[in-house]
Amino acid sequence: MAVKHNNGIILTTVEEVLSWGRRNSLWPASVGLACCAIEMMHTAASRFDTDRLGIIFRGSPRQSDVLIVAGTVVNKVAPMLKLIYDQMPDPKWVIAMGGCSSAGGPFPTYATLQGVDRIIPVDVYVPGCPPTPQALLWGILELQKKIKAKKEGKVWEEIPVREVPTASQPIPIKEKSPLGF
């Protein structure tokens, strides 16, 4: 990037390094609410081992960076979810896993919160009921892209609307950078 002063360049490189560290050790707070929590566990289990990407689940929100809202959030639990989000230290991100947490899903009822993004800002929406572990992993990769692009603020202008994906092909190993994502 066109930075004139040397220190500017140094700064940017430092930022690069920090963002590399952050996106390669995302520790989610294990907030399992409903069906999606099972698939979240499966994502962490042996078949689709999130630990490969440096993602380990922490019990306490104080030590976690990303909040994966897995399952239906009902009105009654919403304030507590907000509390958990507030307890997390910055920088923090939120993944709304599944339709319920993204937009109320198939429960347009008196008791259900129609989308967790009404109480806390959401970075990535993962549709599915529940999303398969691969879908959730894809969502996490999307979040890593976002962190890489320094789209940390919830500024909507910066966020492009992704075009519709069609066939999904594996990323060949050679395209992978030696430093991870």
């Binding site: 937009a103 599915g128 894809w138 976002k146 789209k151 992704r162 999904s168 990323i171």
Partner: protein, 200 residues
């Protein structure tokens, strides 16, 4: 025939207790697993191909000459060119759906009396992927593809529109239309977990 039996509770003998036999046995099991091969599929570098029946993101089959007879019946009332979505705006998917308001279908009457579908939106964030809509579609138009990588930064980009769905339908049929109805196809990936299955 159903029988009733009582479970017997094993006892830990003193010999086992003193020589830690229980611990040693357990640790032998973990050690054996340590030597086994890993079962992990390194997403995104390796991917499990969903089975053909997988109920992923929705798509529209297009008019491509493979339509069922029922479509031929209704076709004459519709204005559909080859390569366009087969949807005949019968609203059956909407009727079958437990969450009907996730659909937003509009059709207009053309001057020559035929109907044309101008809008077919689905809000996937309200979808249960239960597949009732696809079973209700009388012209084999609405299908569910094997596409699951739909995570996005925006609520708006989780809403499907008719042209994307047609695009997906073409793509899906190109890849998997002629595939046999088998439980799964990527044996090499699955064999990591399953080992060698002998197929009949």
């Amino acid at each position: 025939m159903v029988k009733i039996k009582y479970v017997e509770r094993p006892e830990l003998t003193n010999r086992e207790r003193i020589f830690f036999v229980d611990f040693i046995k357990g640790m032998r099991v973990t050690f054996r697993n340590l030597l086994r091969k890993t079962v992990t599929t390194a997403f995104p570098f390796e991917k499990l191909t969903p089975p053909k029946r997988f109920r992923g993101t929705h798509a529209h089959r297009v008019k491509n000459g493979k339509e069922p007879p029922s479509f031929k019946v209704i076709e004459k009332f519709m204005d559909i060119d080859t390569g366009e979505s087969r949807c005949v705006a019968c609203y059956m998917c909407m009727q079958a759906c437990p969450v009907p308001f996730l659909f937003n279908i509009e059709a207009v009457q053309l001057p020559d009396g035929r109907k044309k579908v101008v809008r077919f939106d689905m809000n996937l964030l309200n979808c249960m992927y239960c597949g009732l809509c696809t079973e209700a579609c009388p012209v084999d138009c609405l299908i569910m593809t094997d596409i699951y990588e739909t995570a996005s930064y925006h609520r708006a980009s989780c809403v499907l529109h008719i042209d994307d769905m047609a695009k997906r339908g073409i793509d899906f049929d190109r890849r998997r239309y002629d595939e046999p109805d088998r439980i799964w196809i990527d044996d090499d990936q699955r064999s990591k977990l399953w080992g060698q299955i002998k197929w009949s």
